[in-house]
Structure formats: structure tokens, C-alpha cells
């Protein structure tokens, strides 16, 4: 089956992001496809390239990046939710004339249409929130 995941919580504020990662790994292990992970609301904080967790703590951003690269999974961040929270890629940095871009390159900014598409085209949509 094709799964789409929706992540709505920041890695530091709940266990939802880690739960989504564990679920995604288990889904692949059972032979399913994870077509897209969409980050919305506070979930956009999963895509920052600038978080520096202490060495004895889990680096959730790195885990998403490694997981996506190893399995060819799209990590899509809602652009409106990201801009609101100061999460920019190089294009948005330039457009809004901010001093730095901080979106991890494993993630892409896009619109909510990507969530709609994922919801309609996959067999299952699982939401991971607060």
C-alpha cells in the first residue's frame, strides 16, 4: 500500500515526529511505500538545518534526512507554515530579503496542494500530532 504521513509537531515538543519516523520505517519493512511526508503547523520545525541537539540526544532532523535519502521519500514542508516560523530556503530568503536560509536540503518547501494530493492519491494517510 501507499502511505502518506502528516507531521504536525516539532521534534522537541512531542514524541509525534519520532513516532512518525518509527512508523515509516515499520511500513517500509512490511513492504509498503511511503510516498510523501508532509510537515505542517509546528511540524515544520523538523526541517531546520540549524538545530544542534546535545550529543547524547536523538537528532530527529538528521534521522528524517537519512531516512528520506536512503529510501527516496519526499519530505515536503508547507511554505506558509514555514515562512510564519522563520524557516526559509534560499529562494525565499532572497525573495523576502532575510539574512539567512535554514531549510535542510533534504526537505522542500511547497504548498498545501501537496498534502491534498498525498491524501487523495495514497491508500492511507496517517496524522502524527501533539
Amino acid at each position: 500500500m501507499r502511505y502518506a504521513l502528516l507531521v504536525l509537531a516539532a521534534p522537541q515538543s512531542s514524541a509525534a515526529s519520532q513516532g512518525a519516523l518509527r512508523f515509516a520505517r515499520a511500513a517500509l519493512a512490511r513492504g509498503h511505500t511511503v510516498s510523501r511526508v508532509f510537515f505542517y503547523g509546528e511540524g515544520v520545525h523538523n526541517a531546520t538545518a540549524l538545530a544542534v541537539p546535545p550529543q547524547d540526544e536523538v537528532d530527529t532532523v538528521a534521522q528524517w534526512r537519512d531516512f528520506a535519502l536512503a529510501n527516496g521519500i519526499e519530505l515536503v514542508v508547507c511554505i506558509a507554515a514555514a515562512l510564519r516560523r522563520g524557516l526559509l530556503d534560499e529562494g525565499e530568503r532572497e525573495r523576502y530579503e532575510r539574512t539567512a536560509a535554514n531549510l535542510d536540503p533534504a526537505f522542500v518547501l511547497s504548498g498545501l496542494g501537496q498534502l491534498a494530493e498525498a491524501a487523495l492519491e495514497s491508500d492511507r494517510v496517517i496524522t502524527f500530532g501533539g
Partner: protein, 103 residues
Amino acid sequence: MSTLHIVSTAPTAGTALADALRVAGAGDTLLLTGDGVYAAVAHAPGPSQLLREAAATGVQLYALLPDIDARGLAHRLHPGVRLVDDNGFVELTERCPRTASWF
């Protein structure tokens, strides 16, 4: 066409569990994850009552094992709650055509 209801916040932190169980009916499945697993503790009067009522109406009750173990709850569980690991979580989503998350 049953629904898998996933509750991920503690029963003392809001109304997610109660709201989910108003919707859940016979043939539906409830899975407690994250802090939601605190509802599975036996002798917590409010949540236990909700879970008993849900089981009586034909809702199947599950909790996510890694979240139970992490919180030291393995020996304090409500007897009607079955445990699944991450693989079992995926299996539940295969079985239920629809999932609804509550938090």
C-alpha cells in the same frame, strides 16, 4: 468499514480520548500512542471507565508497546488493552481503511 482511532495525548491533558471514544463504535479500533498510553494504566478511574465502556460497545483496545515500555507501564496495564509494536501498528492501519488521529 472500520476506523482506527489513534490517541496520542494523556487523558489528563485534554479531551482527546473522550472525544475519540464518542466517535468510536463497534468494530472500530483504538490505539494509544505517545503520552496517550497513560490512559491504559489500570486503576486510573476516569480513563479506565472510558476504556471499559468502549470495550463493551465492541471497540478493540491497543497500546503501542515501545511507548508503554519507555514509560515503565508494562506491569500496570488495564487488562482489556492489547499491546502492539511498530510493526503491529502498521498492521492495524492495513486492516482499517480509515485512520483518525486525536491530540
